[in-house]
């Protein structure tokens, strides 16, 4: 098939599937969170509230779209779609099963990191363009956090690249399918790297306990304070998309992606992504939030040195096992 055609068709399918997943991710999260808080979660719209996401979207769509007078109108309108764009673009290289990915880039892992580094931009643009002090504070926090946690995230992925000896995500998964998952192989090192990746990814995606940018109790809603209607909905969607994609990435990088017995690869990938995402959700509804300066301390004083140490250990391990290639 023509690669361009493949890319377009596949992207269409992927975007549709991911958007639906996102919608139902909100439903699932609300259900689970409700049960954790001894509530029921959505029950009214449809059976067990299954139509709730659609109702939410409709509600957001019919809300008044307010642009503050003092806002930078063009940038204000640009930010929400841009967040969704970057979140979706990351999905292009996540391998769902052998051959089932939009583009099997040689540098897939690097591509993901590059895009996730860009994620802070739309948030920052939105926060600055709102011309709101709370939004601005949130935006500053988002940028500071984004570029700080970028480093341990990058380094942890570098460790995987080092161990797998390839930058292609499907290549990394293939290596794990052949030789064992990276979460367990080299014992301890892989697990530590995974923990590092997970924490950094949580922080990168502004999930609790690292959600200082949108800290509602302090900054009202952070960068999205001034957004209404579907523009807010887009931010919300991008956040969920991002978390799902990060979970998928974690599954591909550390949990062997599509590798698994009996069932076809896609099932395993979906299962692992869902599992990882649920752990993120579980953490989200359990922990309190760090303070910004504490997050920076955590990143620069603990995570960055730890990731550098792990990188060195991984290099030693690779050298010992494979020798110099």
């Amino acid at each position: 098939m023509n690669p361009w055609l493949h890319a377009v068709l596949y992207s269409l399918v992927l975007v549709t599937v991911l958007m639906t997943c996102t919608a139902y991710a909100t439903w699932l999260e609300r259900k689970v969170a409700g049960r954790m808080q001894s509530r029921l979660g959505p029950t009214r719209v449809g059976f067990a509230g299954l139509l709730q996401p659609i109702a939410d979207a409709l509600k957001l769509l019919q809300k008044e779209d307010i642009v503050p007078l003092a806002a930078d109108r063009a940038l204000f309108n640009l930010a929400p779609p841009l967040t969704v764009f970057f979140a979706l673009a990351t999905a292009a290289v996540i391998p769902f099963s052998p051959g089932l990915l939009a583009s099997d880039l040689d540098i897939g892992a690097l591509y993901v990191l590059a895009l996730s580094g860009l994620m802070v931009f739309p948030v920052w643009i939105g926060s600055w363009a709102s011309n709101n002090k709370y939004a601005l504070l949130g935006g500053m926090r988002a940028v500071a956090q984004g570029i700080s946690y970028e480093i341990p995230l990058l380094l942890s992925v570098t460790i995987v690249i080092l161990m797998a000896d390839t930058m292609s995500l499907s290549g990394i998964v293939q290596v794990q399918a052949d030789e064992g998952w990276f979460i367990a192989r080299p014992f301890g090192l892989g697990l530590a790297t995974f923990a590092l990746f997970f924490v950094a990814a949580l922080a990168e995606g502004n999930r609790i306990p690292f959600d200082t940018p949108e800290a509602e109790s302090e900054l009202v809603a952070g960068p999205t304070t001034e957004y209404t209607g579907m523009k807010f909905g887009l931010f919300y969607m991008a956040e969920y998309l991002h978390s799902i994609i990060v979970a998928g990435l974690g599954a591909a990088l550390f949990l062997g992606g599509w590798d698994g017995p009996i069932a076809p690869g896609l099932h395993w990938m979906v299962l692992k992504t869902l599992g990882l995402w649920m752990v993120m959700l579980w953490a989200r509804w359990t922990f309190l939030r760090f303070r910004t300066d504490q997050m920076m301390t955590l990143c620069w004083r603990y995570l960055v040195p730890a990731s550098l140490g792990l990188l060195m250990a991984a290099a030693v391990w690779v050298h010992a096992v494979h020798g110099v290639s």
């Binding site: 109790s217 302090e218 989200r284 922990f287 309190l288």
Partner: protein
């Protein structure tokens, strides 16, 4: 208000001093803000995210209750002041009624005193539970672990409201205290319900402690918002705030009312003076209140529950000329009621009724505590003060 502290400049005195060159950001924190616990405004002067100066403004919830009370008869005041501290209404009712009793010289029967003590202690648990939930929410956000603790606390608080519903018929604004005693006697089977509920809550409190015994919680609270004992005394802080700063003071023990003189109330103190200390004090007080309430509820003596004839006619209270000040220990501290009797319609309404709300004094600590902290800490500190704006603004 001036403080005799040369080392500390009074932030009130330079209220409007603001240099544009200092490049500070003026952040209006509130009155419409998720974590100001009502309508309350703090103007923060931020350097980056660090607060340089903070000026609190109260009064957004002012309803003129004290003035209103001058027009109402003594019987009608109770349900009105109920709404002051809307988290612990039992204490509001009791405070004014104790003041009126002192003014009229009414004897409160022992059974009513027991009931008052029991409902007070149960109400204290409810109030502290609500505080714990909202404090966790301040620290953990509306979308996150904070809400979980919040929901759990409310789940337990709901059971206490059920208890009050069985006793008084209302879940919140009870109007159960009256001049000379109580309006509602304890219904059958209530003691067992109290035992079941409070035993259950005691277990759940352990659970909250376990979930909050987490490095993140400690990092957010320890060393944050330290109020020294001297500052606390200077500002007239009372209740858990004062005790968390290491001052051993509790009206239940030091100026007993009701039957507290017969009880051995453990006064919980802590030395930290920070948010963590206030948290510890309140959690321990919850346990102590549970203990007191459970011990008392089995031993309520028989007898009448009201020392005067029940109100039949709207205007009938005989009041001496004079003035009284009555204070009692609410979950937030000393709730004082100052009443002047007499005046033109002496037997109908008080000449003047002044309420000393502990929350207002707690809020006055903000300008001294906030500077040097970040915005995140401001939320934690404000939450740890446990202000109720209905009471602070009245």
């Amino acid at each position: 208000m001036t403080l005799e502290r040369p080392d500390r400049a009074d932030p009130y005195l330079d209220l409007d001093e603001y240099e544009p060159e200092a490049d500070l950001m003026v952040l209006n924190f509130g009155p419409q803000h998720p974590s100001t616990h009502g309508v309350f405004r703090v103007v923060m002067y931020l350097d980056g995210e660090t607060i340089v100066k903070a000026v609190p403004y109260a009064g957004y919830l002012h309803r003129g209750v004290e003035k209103l009370c001058e027009k109402l008869t003594y019987a009608q005041i109770t349900p009105i002041v109920d709404k002051n501290d809307y988290v612990a209404p039992m204490f509001n009712e009791q405070a004014v009624n104790m003041a009126f009793e002192a003014l009229t010289g009414t004897e409160v029967p022992i059974r009513a005193q027991y009931i008052r003590t029991i409902v007070g202690e149960i109400q204290r648990v409810a109030s502290h539970l609500l505080w714990l939930g909202t404090f966790a929410m301040d620290l953990g956000g509306a979308i996150g672990g904070g809400t979980s603790v919040f929901m759990w606390c409310f789940r337990e608080r709901e059971m206490i409201l059920d208890l009050f519903e069985h006793l008084t018929g209302c879940r919140f604004h009870y109007n159960t205290h009256t001049l000379g005693g109580n309006r509602h006697d304890i219904p059958a089977g209530w003691a067992e319900k109290v035992h079941a509920t409070l035993g259950h809550i005691a277990q759940r409190v352990d659970e909250y402690e376990a979930i909050l015994d987490h490095p993140i919680f400690k990092a957010r609270t320890e060393g944050v918002g330290v109020i020294s004992a001297q500052l606390a005394l200077d500002l007239g802080l009372t209740g858990p705030l004062l005790r968390a700063s290491g001052v051993d003071h509790d009206l239940r023990r030091d100026a007993p009312y009701n039957i507290y003189d017969q009880l051995d109330v453990q006064v919980m103190t802590d030395t930290g003076g920070d948010c963590a200390a206030r948290y510890r004090v309140r959690v321990r007080e919850m346990r102590e209140s549970i203990r007191i309430a459970r011990a008392l509820v089995d031993n309520v003596p028989p007898g009448p529950i009201c020392g005067t004839k029940p109100i039949k006619l709207p205007v009938q209270t005989r009041v001496k000329d004079g003035q009284v000040y009555v204070a009692l220990e609410t979950p937030r501290g000393e709730l004082g009621t100052y009443v002047i009797g007499g005046g033109d319609n002496r037997n109908a309404s008080p000449y003047r009724l002044k309420i000393r709300p502990p929350s207002l004094h707690a809020l006055s600590a903000l300008p001294y505590v906030l500077p040097g902290h970040g915005v995140s800490d401001a939320v934690a500190i404000l939450g740890s003060l446990d202000p109720i704006m209905g009471e602070a603004d009245r």
